[in-house]
Amino acid sequence: MNRQRIIAIFAALILTAGVAARADDIPLPDLSDAQPQVREKILASHARVEAGRGRSEAWGRYGMVLHAHSCLTEAAHAYAAARRLSPKEYRWPYFEAIVSQKVDPRRALELFDAARAIDPDYVPALIHRGRLLETLGDREAAEQSYARAVELDPDSCPALLHQGKLALQNGDLSVAVTALEAAARLAPEDRAVLATLARVYQRAGRRADARAVAERARSAEAQTPFSDPLYAEVRWEAVNIRAFQQRATALRDKGDFAAARRELVRAERFAPDDPSVQAALAEIHWREGNLLAAVTAGRRALASDMRFDDLHQVLAIVHFELDHFDEADHHAVIALRETPDDPDLHVIRGEALTRRGEIDAAIGHLEVAVTLKPDADAGRLRLGQLLARQGRLDEAVTHLTAVAQANPRDVETLAILGLTQMRRQAFAEAETALAAATTLAPKNPGLIRAHAAALIGARRFREAAVRLERAWPLHPEAWGLLNDLAWLRATCPDASVRNGQAAVTHAETLVADPARRTPSHLDTLAAAYAETGRFGPAVKAMDEAIAATPVSSPSREAYVQRRVRYQSQRPYHAE
């Protein structure tokens, strides 16, 4: 068996196809183990030919259906019949040529030329033809074919690629660079273009450029799809599960998730138990934001014995977004076995471990995440928080500052940074961060309190008082804010800021409701009374505060000492 024999066989088949068609024979492949929807589609198309044996379109469509399902022998028969019935129709010799080039380049060339006789200017056919001519060793003719393609469509990336490639082979580097750089502008992530451009740069002595472009080629996913509107019609005839999945993948890559989902739902209808379909659906549901649907599809996929490394990654993220931290962690652990350098998975693990209280382990994962992906801000923020929690304040501030610089309008980051700076006694830095936070979130009383505390820490008492005075009317239910104000007025080291009477007014308002007579509020009330010289009520308030404070509380001792102080007629500020 050799090449000539293969060609002879193919030619015999084509000839047989002609005879068969003349005799109205309709080839039908063995469909015994084909997927049911494939069988159904082929049989339906076959029936249409049977109903209209003289109709070119029926034969051609039948060829397309067969072609789409790789029944190539029968497809060639059908195309040949269609071609004979309608000699002026471009598609049939063109499609037959595409079938033939898989086996017999010379026969394919004849058919491309037959198609060219009908329409000489279909660019995809010129490119196919050029490639065939190269395979057959006729580089000169191939060049002409590509040149014509570029002439007809100067923005055809494949045409430019092949033109550039042949120029490279001919040693015409300037033409090669021009063509390939133009192709690279049209398709900056096209692997074939980048790889060929890298070679051109290498030949031209541009070694650094060559290496850089080669690296891009290495990481590029694939080639830009060959735009061939006619042949696309053939692809769309395919109804096997893989075809649905391939179309869904292509649509997903274009960002058309809804269309991708529709393809997968069609696949699911034919193969409801196919785990790979469910896995693909899980991903699309996630991309569309249908997290619960993603979880359901993901579970169905994982119920099989098949391994879905990517799916675990998706499910880790989905569960994370649903705040299902244990499930997220479960999937992240599995996914990390295959992709140990995925920063998102390390962030998820860090978060889950944090919630389980395993702080050191969490810090380990988050440190890996930010090393792998320095701009992983969520991970870095959490890392900063955990480091602060562990008392590693300088490290925490480094990470939090980086996040804040990258996200200068993120209130949470600024607040955490400010509070961490306060813990470091870096009040000026804390004030800067918290001022920015309160500017972005002016109605957050917690932030206002923190900002005022930073101002106090920086000994900017008057500004702190003003901040709190202005905020209080806007947040009349923010009792913590009022407590801070009353305490500042009662105890401020700066006498010009102290105002005992105002403090008493605020503190009495604070405790007017018995439910608010907390130890902290009573402590403030006592300090206010003491500041106005009313030491008896002050002592009484402290008694009440001490009585409400558990013996184990660290505040209790301070309260006792203050009671002694007030009993000896000394106000708080003299402390």
């Binding site: 068996m1 050799n2 090449r3 000539q4 024999r5 293969i6 002879a8 066989i9 193919f10 015999a12 088949l13 047989t16 024979d25 309709i26 080839p27 039908l28 492949p29 063995d30 469909l31 084909a34 997927q35 399902h69 790789s70 029944c71 190539l72 022998t73 029968e74 898989k102 086996v103 017999d104 380049p105 490639r131 395979t135 060793g137 006729d138 580089r139 690629l161 092949h162 490639k165 082979q169 692997r191 074939a192 790889a195 060929t196 890298a198 070679r199 740069y201 290498q202 030949r203 060559a210 080669a214 290495r218 096997n240 599960i241 893989r242 790979s276 099989s304 098949m306 391994r307 490394d309």
Partner: protein, 602 residues
């Protein structure tokens, strides 16, 4: 109305017609019988699934002598209908070397087994060793040889890794690989663990090399993919079929440095090899850029090929893309399987011929020296013949002694063929394909001479490995072909015309790396023509052969000079020798030569 039971039937009918038409076209006189052919053995047990039996075929360039020489190895994959376990379609390697030190070439076949590895039951079909006996008959000497590896075998390589003068064997498996030390007299010991080798990835081809020039042999293993046996794939009609490589992640290859004393160290990461994780199937180690350091070329399946250029400091850089050997002429990765290496255009450097899936051509990467490689497949007519076939094993060799390297390719599909080539019953009938032999016309262009090869080119099988080796020691290269779920076959070379000459050259280093793997031998004919051969054991797909250079010399009755580029970077010239013999060349026995001097002399 035509309504075939199977869509393969029309093709099968055509095949029969074609076979009948071509069978009588290439009558040749029988060649002088070799010692091997004189042996009488029982009739063949495995007639190939084709339209003519060996007895009815016309004599050709090659004659099958499998049964005559007593070879009865039949590969087993453990195949179970409907399972489509991917590894079962990719195995079937072999090695041809003198395993027992008696001076004759022996045969070692890697078997997958009679069970799939997913089966709980143990495999009972090991790899097999056949020792050549006086008279050219082979005897199954597996029992007691220690080479009866029970892993789910893929391929093997050979090399004297412990510098004791005999060739050791490394077997790649789906599962843990095995390193066998040759203890002499055809007895081997599994030293994998003691050697510190632990490659549990799915490995395919492997090769020994001395990448660090420290004199001992290191080991490169091409790993394939991380297969999930539970994954079910389908063809375009939705029928279950074998998966393609892109269904799974690729796996990083492994480089082991020989530390001496039988120990190896995994230096994959330190050497830079970990920078890629592609689906590796074939590997060849040779000095492609002629800088005196051995490089590594890896054929990857549906991934860019690697060309690891040795930096001379223990590290490698993959320059395949910028040197034009990663992608084909269209800038596309192909399904790289096997690798042929040689200098068919006689320009003094090593070209590559990589086998691929049907619908792709096999691809000929012509070495342009400092300019890298150029896909010249069409220009040398190496594409057209391969378009409709899935190539695996491949070898450049001068079968007709005309001083121009020819090429053999063995084929077999990995997915159900759109047009089956036989109507024979059985699962494999949708996958079998014929083999190819392409003859170099002397200008570097090739002509398909498959019709003249008899059973080699007629038999429809699922072939994987092809090894040219002078099994019968008559000076020409015979072909050993391995087949999945089929018999290994030996084809005696009957091609060389009377008056055509040959020379076999073995190069030797003193001490370590005695076989001088990585050296390059140049034979200079009296007319100045230079023929170069790399000294390699592993090439093609999953196969290895004793590292000896074979030269066809045409009508030259001698070579005027032999030049050896040794693996340590030195170059030496040796006086001319007469054709028709096997010579051994030892380092230090010649005259030091510089590249410039040699160029002037030529």
């Amino acid at each position: 109305m035509t309504n075939p039971q199977r869509w393969t039937r029309p093709v099968a009918t055509g095949l029969l017609a074609a076979a009948v038409a071509l069978a009588g076209c290439e009558e040749r006189s029988p060649q002088t019988a070799s010692p091997a052919s004189a042996v009488t053995t029982p009739p063949p047990a495995d007639p190939p699934p084709t339209r003519s039996t060996p007895s009815t075929r016309a004599p050709g360039l090659f004659t099958e002598i499998t049964t005559e020489i007593g070879l009865d190895f039949r590969h087993q994959s453990g195949h179970v209908d409907g399972t489509h376990f991917m590894a079962e379609i990719l195995g079937g390697g072999a090695a041809v070397f003198d395993a027992d030190g008696d001076g004759n070439l022996d045969l070692y076949f890697v078997n997958a087994g009679d069970r799939l590895p997913t089966d709980a039951a143990a495999n009972t079909a090991p790899n097999r060793l056949y020792l050549q006996q006086p008279g050219g008959v082979f005897r199954d000497a597996t029992a007691g040889s220690g080479l009866d590896d029970m892993g789910y075998g893929m391929g093997c390589t050979i090399g004297d890794m412990d510098d004791d003068g005999d060739l050791d064997v490394y077997v790649t498996n789906w599962g843990a690989d095995t390193l066998f030390r040759n203890d002499g007299n055809g007895v081997f010991t599994d030293v994998t663990e003691a050697a510190g080798i632990d490659n549990r990835s799915w490995a395919c081809s492997a090769s020994f090399l001395d990448y660090d020039r420290d004199g001992d042999l290191d080991l490169y293993v091409a790993n394939y993919i991380d297969l999930d046996p539970a994954r079910i794939c389908t063809d375009d009609a939705g029928r279950p079929d074998y998966c393609g490589p892109k269904a799974f992640p690729g796996v990083t290859d492994r480089l082991y440095r020989n530390l001496g004393e039988g120990r190896f160290e995994d230096v994959t990461a330190a050497a830079g090899i970990a920078a890629a994780a592609y689906a590796g199937l074939g590997v060849v180690c040779a000095d492609f850029n002629r800088d005196g350091w051995v490089d590594i070329y890896v054929a990857n399946d549906a991934d860019p090929n690697d060309l690891w250029i040795n930096q001379g400091d223990g590290t490698f850089l993959d320059d395949a893309i910028i040197l034009g050997a990663a992608f084909n002429r269209h800038g596309q990765p192909e399904a790289g399987m096997g690798i042929g290496v040689g200098d068919p255009d006689r320009d003094g450097d090593l070209d590559l011929y990589v086998t691929h899936l049907m619908e792709e051509t096999n691809t000929y990467y012509r070495n342009l020296g400092s300019l890298g490689f150029d896909d010249a497949t069409g220009a040398v007519n190496l594409g057209e013949a391969s378009v409709g076939l899935t190539g695996f094993g491949v070898a450049f060799f001068d079968f007709d002694h005309d001083a121009a390297l020819d090429v053999a390719v063995v084929n077999g599909a990995v997915g159900r063929r759109p047009q089956a080539m036989t109507s024979a019953a059985g699962f494999l009938s949708d996958y079998v394909e014929p083999n190819l032999l392409l003859r170099n016309d002397g200008t570097g262009r090739f002509v398909d001479v498959t019709p003249q090869t008899g059973g080699y080119g007629e038999t429809l099988e699922l072939s994987r490995g092809v090894i040219p080796a002078d099994l019968d020691a008559d000076g020409d290269l015979d072909l050993i072909v391995t087949n999945i779920e089929g018999p290994a076959r030996v084809y005696r070379n009957d091609a060389p015309a009377a008056g055509s000459n040959w020379l076999r050259v073995r190069v030797r280093l003193a001490g370590s790396n005695r076989d001088a793997l990585g050296a390059t031998i140049t034979a200079v004919r009296p007319d100045g023509t230079r023929l170069i051969r790399p000294v390699i054991a592993s090439f093609g797909y999953l196969t290895a052969v004793e590292p000896e250079a074979h030269f066809g010399l045409g009508d030259a009755a001698e070579v005027s000079r032999l030049i050896v580029d040794w693996p340590d970077g030195r170059r030496e010239a040796f006086p001319g020798v007469a054709a028709g013999q096997r010579v051994e060349v030892r380092q230090g026995a010649g005259q030091p030569a510089s590249p410039d001097v040699e160029a002037d002399q030529s």
